[in-house]
Subunit: 201 residues, 2 copies
């Protein structure tokens, strides 16, 4: 019988989500678990927790900016903050769910391309047109992407995914849930891996 | 020539500080670096960052309570939150600096005993009398501890250490500074170790 999948929550405006997105499928392969990607709008969770975007905070902002860069260097990934960071990422998240309805595999490729555009190349991916152009480079039909981003059912899907995430205890990005256990942060992927492989401790 | 020491900042009311205190000297031995322990009052830093004690926060509180427990289990350390958590820890921190003026080694032993009383046994260590009793079990003279905790010069030392910490960018516990590089969290000790051993990346 197939093992339960791992839920991978992230916001398209999350630098640590970008880093984790490059690692999580390898963890899925190693543990034999499917990874379900769930882009969400972290701002909604921030309202519940009273948090604000990290890089704008005194002390915590400068620390994390340095930590994002050195974490990326360690993983061998290019890194820069996009213009206008932190970004509104409704269009990107909706495009993901629109693509996922046709092909989860294609949706993950789109998500990675959007995250790379944002954090490897520094592109502001807020606008639907930008998202559609990046998707078009992967072979999606730009007009169909635009229609998907504007589709009320897709908007509702993103709202519902964000609500479910918060109800399950998600408050940051990246966030992982496996076998009912929650792990927050790119720096906890090794813990998640060990938890699954050992059955927990 | 001796290598530069590693600064280890923590608050006596910090569960993750307790966990790190049990690990940091082994890291010092492995890397050949002296560890300088600096208890501080994290509440002062929280005023600068707008943060509040973790376990009282929606979503973040329940997550971290579970994470503290599983982090302790993984390290084979007993764990419970003390009565009245989060605690005011001026007395404990002042006792540390009082003891350190005589013997940094004895001060570290005292710090570990206080952290164990707090997070292994669940003792509320806020009161000076409680701190003095724990110190007395280690051979300190209780009256001398009490006098140290009340000494204006020791109070000023704690204030100054906390101010210096914030000026250096410290905003959480545990927090490490080595060779000008900042690392936050018990879960970043492996990164700190690798950074020192490799010279950084």
């Amino acid at each position: 019988m197939a093992q339960a999948p791992i839920d991978f929550y992230f916001d398209f405006s999350s630098p640590y989500g970008y880093l984790a997105a490059h690692r999580v499928e390898a963890l899925g392969a190693e543990t034999g678990r499917e990874i379900l990607w769930h882009p969400i709008l972290l701002g909604v969770a921030f309202k519940a927790t009273g948090q604000s975007p990290l890089v704008s905070q005194p002390l915590r902002g400068p620390y994390h900016l340095n930590d994002m860069k050195r974490s990326a260097r360690r993983l061998g990934l290019p890194f820069q903050l996009p213009d206008g960071f932190p970004l509104a990422t409704m269009a990107a998240a909706r495009a993901f769910y629109w693509a996922e309805a046709t092909s989860p595999v294609a949706a993950k490729k789109l998500a990675l391309a959007l995250l790379n555009a944002c954090f490897a190349e520094g592109t502001n991916i807020t606008k639907a047109e930008t998202v559609a152009a990046i998707a078009a480079d992967l072979g999606f039909i730009a007009e169909a992407v635009m229609a998907g981003i504007a589709d009320p059912a897709i908007k509702e899907k993103l709202r519902a995914e964000t609500d479910v995430a918060i109800a399950r205890g998600v408050f940051g990005s990246p966030f992982f849930i496996a076998d009912g256990e929650l792990f927050w942060g790119n720096d906890r992927l090794a813990d998640l891996r060990d938890w699954i492989l050992t059955g927990g401790w």
